[in-house]
Amino acid sequence: MVVAILFIILGFIVIRGFSVISWKFLTTMPEDGMTKGGILPAIVGTLSLVAGSMIFAFPIGVLSGIYINEYLTDSWLKRFMRNMTNNLAGVPSIVFGLFGMTLFVNTLKFGDSILAGSLTLGLMVLPVIIRTTEEALKSVDDSLRHGSYALGATKLQTIRRVVLPIAYPNIITGVILSISRVSGETAPILFTVAAYFLPKLPTSIFDQVMALPYHLYVLTTSGLNPEASRPMAYGTALVLIAIVLFVNLLANGLRRYFGKKVKMN
């Protein structure tokens, strides 16, 4: 039933959007009140937000996960951090958008920018990365850690040489799934970076950019001639879904590849 729904949605978008897809669509700027041309700036914008959010969320998220699982002894602090992480994960994305606007755009004066958008999106997926890192580390059997300590290895060496290599594939999976979330969220970028119409590519992290999910909204509801823009809206949706699907397939493929490489006993 779920698969059927998925296929219906996909089919819908593919049928209506396919006609619009072309090399020109993917590589040029929108023209003519967004009824013609392409969505390049939105693609570039989304990709730069993905990169930016990952630069922020990946190191902090993985290191936090390592700290919580490997260094905190079982105590109220560990449980507290886990609870807080879960709570953060449950915050609605538009609240992140508002928070991001207040903190990054206004207070820190980054303005509507890739920087503000990346930080906001990064915050949004941070708990996901922390959680998947934690789960990945927990799944590594303690007997391996003990074997390492018994040979005179330090905790840091054990984490680096034994635990992380085993946990790595699952951590990467979490990161990749975060990427697909970042690509598709509209609310956090609404007040922090997304531009309505900006037919040029960004040159610095303080620039505003267009982004695919917001562009989809724009094409569907505004512009000079929403009806005429409709096919492009479908095309945008198709590109967005293609990116998300590709990323999910990549995650599954990587998970299976690494699963074979690192056979757990």
């Binding site: 007997s143 003990h146 074997g147 300590y149 018994a150 040979l151 005179g152 290895a153 040489r161 034994v162």
Partner: protein, 252 residues
């Protein structure tokens, strides 16, 4: 030169409120094999873990009394635990090789202790695998994953891994209990050989095994060291009635 290789004096250990070890006074001479026997949960493995400070990894453990290796108190503040564990190796009940190649498993201890000379590492890997009676079986597939080995081979790999860092003491926590009889026999032969160069303490549930491989046997019951003597004596002429009952299988 210390009189005993391993010694404890009035050792008590608590897991939270539960007293796992009660006033343990134990000694082991160099190049001997001591076996710890006794029913489950009576402190044998706990005492074993005192000697390489693996109990430090468990929360809520409190210990008083003293433990000495080569005459030095190993729980003093200035003791470097990593160095201690280099000198006091441990083989676990269930083989726990790393998900790495056979070669890298044995080399691991050397690498984490700062050895970078690859020629030296290769040499030590070979000699350790020979000491563990595994070399002939794996010499052509050193780069293969350790998981491709059988259970018995994996355990011998873990022994090789332990020997590679050149400990003087090897602790074994029921090393053959997860293995088939053939592998068990191989491991027992191995222990007998290793005795020449190492001091070995082995926890075992298998009394025949204790009888076969050890010089001295210590019988534990409910956290106490009930009787400790030459293995021959323990098994033929035990002094304590509890020892006698355990040996004859009255309780297990």
């Amino acid at each position: 030169m210390a009189e005993y290789k391993v010694e404890t004096k009035n050792l008590n250990l608590f897991y939270g409120e539960f007293q796992a070890l009660n006033n343990i006074n134990f000694i082991a001479k160099e190049n001997t094999v001591s076996a710890f026997i006794g029913p489950s949960g009576c402190g044998k493995s706990t005492l074993l873990r005192v000697f390489n400070r693996m109990n430090d990894l468990i929360d809520n453990v409190k210990m008083d009394g003293k433990a000495f290796i080569d005459g030095k108190n190993i729980y003093k503040k200035n003791v470097v635990v990593d160095e201690l564990r280099k000198n006091v190796g441990m083989v676990f009940q269930k083989p726990n090789p790393f998900p790495k190649s056979i070669f890298e498993n044995v080399a691991y201890g050397l690498r984490v202790n700062g050895v970078h000379d690859n020629k030296y590492i290769t040499h030590v890997v070979e000699s350790s695998l020979k000491k563990a009676a595994l070399w002939d079986e794996v010499k052509d597939k050193l780069k293969k994953s350790a998981f491709e080995l059988s259970g018995g081979q994996q355990q011998r790999l873990c022994i090789a891994r332990t020997l590679a860092v050149e400990p003087s003491i090897v602790l074994m926590d029921e090393p053959a209990s997860a293995l088939d009889p053939m592998s068990t026999a191989k491991i027992e032969d191995l222990i007998y050989e290793l005795k020449k160069n190492y001091t070995i303490i082995i926890v075992t549930h298998n009394m025949q095994q204790a009888g076969r491989v050890s010089d001295y046997t210590a019988f534990f019951y409910l956290g106490e060291l009930v009787e400790y003597d030459e293995t021959k004596t323990i098994f033929t002429n035990p002094k304590d009635v509890k020892t006698q009952n355990y040996i004859t299988g009255r309780f297990g």
